[in-house]
């Protein structure tokens, strides 16, 4: 992972400092100094060793754009993203799964068709475009919500008021992400439940005189949820990196916006650091997903 990360960036971009300052008048001497400070005048081998050593010490380099340590920049960007993405992921999982259950249980009725069609439409649009529409509609035209950022500019509120202000700013981006992610949960839950609905033990449950709702909730759904849970856990890992464009649209100061900004540099150390973080997140959540599944499904022996 680290090896790939490093070589990918270094191999093709031969002169990052030059491209960063392209078009601006900077004396050649300054450029050379910058290159030296970033270690770019060393051979590739030396640079790699240097990289490994530094990464092990959690020193991910200095951002080209901001001249601050990459580690600091990334760490300060984590909480906003975590908050936004966490809320959206939980909401979309809960709502999406519920919708999928209803759609499958009442398959081929208008409830099913409207739910399936609705989620397919949301799922087929670019998430950031939905964000743009919501932003223009609710913030620009109606003025109900702020146009961007995480707090009102220049505010000095603290404590509860600050939190409320942040939540107020979070509403639209969270709504955008929730709508965008809903679809997958709905479709997977629906599929899974439809598979389960053909099983004999549901007929047995009905024969025992159980109410329809109980048959659904106690027998059908628990069996259907197993694959959904795995999906959710895996998704959490990917979801971290999925909010990049939406954060950019709403100027939400998280990892996504940091990535978007870093792209425009290109700010290689930042991109490297971010990529490392995103990959780590996916690996961690895949592990969690595996563990959760084996804990939930009695048919799987051990972890």
């Amino acid at each position: 992972m680290l090896v790939f990360n490093f070589f990918l960036f270094r191999v093709v971009q031969t002169d990052p400092i030059g491209s960063l300052f392209r078009g601006r008048n900077v004396p050649a001497e300054t450029l050379d100094n910058l290159r030296a400070s970033f270690g770019l005048d060393q051979s590739i081998g030396t640079q790699f060793v240097f990289y490994l050593r530094e990464t092990a010490q959690l020193n991910l380099g200095i951002s080209y754009q901001s001249r601050q340590p990459v580690w600091d920049e990334i760490v300060s960007a984590i909480p906003p993203t975590l908050a936004l993405v966490g809320v959206a992921a939980i909401l979309s999982a809960v709502i999406g799964t519920a919708a999928g259950i209803v759609a499958a249980w009442r398959r081929n009725t208008w409830k099913d068709h409207s739910i399936t069609s609705g989620t397919m439409i949301f799922y087929s649009m670019p998430d950031f475009w939905l964000g743009m529409i919501l932003l223009v509609g609710f913030a620009v035209v109606l003025g109900w919500f702020p146009v961007g950022g995480i707090v009102t500019a220049g505010s000095t509120e603290t404590g509860i008021e600050r939190l409320l202000d942040q939540l107020y700013h979070m509403f639209l981006p969270a709504l955008t992400l929730t709508l965008a992610y809903l679809g997958e949960y709905t479709l997977v839950t629906r599929s899974s439940l439809l598979d389960v609905m053909g099983e004999d033990y549901l007929t047995v449950a009905r024969a025992k005189g159980l109410r329809d709702v109980r048959v659904r909730n106690r027998h059908a759904v628990p069996n259907a949820l197993l694959p959904v849970v795995t999906l959710t856990a895996i998704n959490f890992g990917f979801v971290l990196s999925g909010a990049i464009a939406v954060e950019a649209v709403f100027s939400w100061p998280g990892l996504g916006k940091a990535t978007a900004d870093a792209i425009r540099g290109p700010d290689l150390p930042m991109l490297q650091g971010l990529f490392l973080l995103f990959s780590a997140a996916v690996i961690v959540f895949n592990l969690i997903a595996d563990l959760t599944y084996s804990w939930l499904d009695p048919r799987v022996e051990g972890a």
Partner: protein, 297 residues
């Protein structure tokens, strides 16, 4: 190919078409797709390509930021270009990149999947490790990284999308190949003295084709949406303006604060429509290839 085999292929295609025709979602998808493909092909007839150049637009005396009411049919942007022209010509790039990237994805994924499943053994183990490794990497960051590094060029974008999307296809195809391999008739063919290549092309491929096709159709939406996101983040090819690029320009130049909805609404709707069309077609094909699914739908 023998005439008997050709007849059988034609018969299968006919059967598939009949089933497809009876699916409402499939026909809607197909209809919408054809509409956009026609639009893309007929671009020169629908909008003057010169309208895409800001110099031309200025010379024409177009107003800036004109709404559709003021400048038909879809208004103008910040540098006076016709939004309608951008919409029509953008369809070409978006659809083309979507299709080309998918072709690449399917090609790599199928080859890896078939080889891995058919040859088995150590080759399989190695290829699967590779696939898993790719699957673990979050694909949008990877795409961003590759695109940043490779430069802003249509072919690079296609390459990047292909490289990041092939693993899931490979896995699916490998599973199918394994299932087919287990069937007796492959062993019988081998005992008849058929070579590996013959078995692959005459037995494995026909049984896997259906799955590949359905998977391909469902992969196009992913390719298109990925291209759109990459373009939006500034990694698109400046000389080949896709719908994603239109959205990027709208965003960067303040279309939102000005409420210039005509600038970003059409491009997004176009993407939505084309992606939805491919999704509907793909789901229909999936149901045809795997009838067990249609019981539930």
């Amino acid at each position: 190919m023998s005439t008997l085999a050709m007849q059988r292929r034609r018969a299968t295609a006919g059967r598939v078409w009949t089933q497809f025709r009876s699916s409402r979602q499939g026909m809607i998808g197909l209809g919408v797709l054809l509409l956009f493909v026609l639009m893309a092909l007929a671009a020169p007839l629908l909008a003057d390509a010169r309208e895409l150049s800001p110099v031309f637009a200025r010379a024409q005396g177009n107003p800036q930021w004109a709404s559709p009411g003021e400048f038909s049919p879809l208004g103008t942007d910040h540098i006076r270009r016709s939004v309608w022209a951008q919409f029509v010509w953008g369809s070409r790039v978006s659809i083309f990149v979507g299709l080309a990237a998918t072709v690449l994805t399917i090609a790599i994924g199928s080859v890896v999947g078939i080889v891995s499943g058919f040859v088995g053994g150590r080759v399989d183990a190695v290829l699967m490790r590779l696939t898993e490794w790719f699957l673990v990497i979050p694909f949008l960051p990877l795409a961003i990284v590759l695109a940043s590094v490779l430069g802003r060029n249509v072919w690079n974008i296609i390459f990047v999308i292909g490289i990041t999307s092939w693993p899931s296809t490979a896995r699916l195809i490998r599973a199918q190949v394994l299932t087919v391999k287990q069937r007796l008739f492959v062993d019988r063919a081998r005992s008849l003295g058929a070579s590996g290549g013959h078995i692959v092309s005459h037995h494995i491929l026909p049984n896997v084709m259906g799955l590949i096709l359905a998977n391909a159709t469902l992969a196009v939406p992913i390719s298109i949406l990925t291209e759109t996101t990459l373009s939006f983040l500034g990694l698109g090819d400046p000389s080949a303006a896709s719908w994603g690029k239109t959205l990027e320009e709208a965003f960067v130049n303040g279309a939102m604060t000005r409420n210039a909805w005509w600038y970003f609404l059409p491009a997004g709707l176009g993407i939505l429509a084309v992606v939805l069309a491919f999704t509907l077609i793909g789901r229909t094909l999936e149901e045809i290839a795997n009838p067990r699914l249609s019981r539930g739908r």
